[in-house]
């Protein structure tokens, strides 16, 4: 019972944050609602017993990736977004389509897995040790490949964000 209440509470915050992300026109408000979504998702992970994933979710997603977004918004001084007019056909067909699709998916999910058991609250079985064992033994090759991926991403980011040398020099001469 407590589990269900907590699930509904954090789930409601999640959905509210996600919808707020869509509604807000200023990117910094969207970013903040995304942070709220991520933090409450971490709580959902805790409810599922995945304590390590929850901690990493807060540290990496909420604490690092979203800070990058906020820095970029501050750096570019992004203003409120200009609304553009959507096509009428898309609204007329799209919204009923989304509703029908959502109802179908929900009906299938709830109808099928009524017997599903979930972990009880407080049962933490995603402890760092067993995850580390899995990550560094069974998934060693994917792990190493992702490390190469992130290295390439770092280099790409540095190359993309740095000014071309001639431009930078020219700017300095002007100043």
């Amino acid at each position: 019972m407590l589990h269900l209440i907590l699930f509904l509470f954090f789930g409601a915050i999640c959905v509210a944050g996600a919808i707020n992300l869509l509604v807000q026109s200023h990117p910094i408000n969207s970013a903040l609602s995304l942070i709220v979504v991520m933090a409450s998702l971490a709580a959902e992970y805790l409810l599922l017993g995945a304590e390590f994933v929850a901690a990493v979710q807060v540290i990496v997603y909420a604490g690092a990736i979203m800070v990058l977004f906020v820095i970029t918004i501050m750096l570019l001084n992004a203003g409120a977004e200009e609304r553009t007019k959507g096509s009428r056909v898309a609204i007329l067909i799209g919204i009923p389509g989304v509703v029908i699709g959502a109802v179908l998916v929900a009906w299938t999910l709830i109808g099928r897995s009524s017997t599903t058991q979930s972990v009880s609250i407080g049962a933490l079985w995603g402890d760092p040790k067993s995850i580390a064992r899995l990550l560094f033994r069974d998934f060693l090759l994917p792990f190493e490949v992702t490390s190469v991926l992130i290295l390439i991403a770092i280099m790409g980011a540095v190359v993309l964000a740095s000014r071309p040398k001639a431009v930078a020099r020219g700017a300095r001469k002007d100043a």
């Binding site: 589990h3 992300l21 977004f69 553009t84 599903t116 079985w125 964000a161």
Partner: protein, 100 residues
């Protein structure tokens, strides 16, 4: 006890919000945030299935998704900064040099 379906529903809602944001938002940074939202929705279903099947590999996959998301954010934001430098706008409708 919460059925798995509830977690999957929540995950689906988050994913759909992400898709919607990706389609309707015009600010390139918000579009990137919508992608992060989709990835988060997928992560939730990974963790929920991991709890359901008592298989930790679902949680390990979340880490890989996070690494990919971090790489994507780093490169994506660098591209955004580069675009802003040349075009002085964050509106995707105005970044249309290759459009017919």
């Amino acid at each position: 006890m919460v059925p798995l379906a509830y977690y999957l529903l929540l995950s689906g809602i988050l994913f759909v919000c992400g898709v919607l944001g990706f389609l309707i938002k015009r600010n390139i940074i918000t579009i990137f945030m919508s992608i992060e939202l989709m990835l988060n929705g997928v992560n939730l279903s990974f963790v929920a299935f991991a709890a359901h099947w008592h298989a930790l590999s679902g949680q390990v996959f979340v880490f890989f998704v996070m690494v990919v998301a971090a790489a994507e954010a780093a490169v994506g934001l660098a591209i955004i900064i580069a675009v802003y430098r040349t075009r002085e706008t964050l509106n995707v409708d105005q970044v249309n040099l290759l459009k017919l």
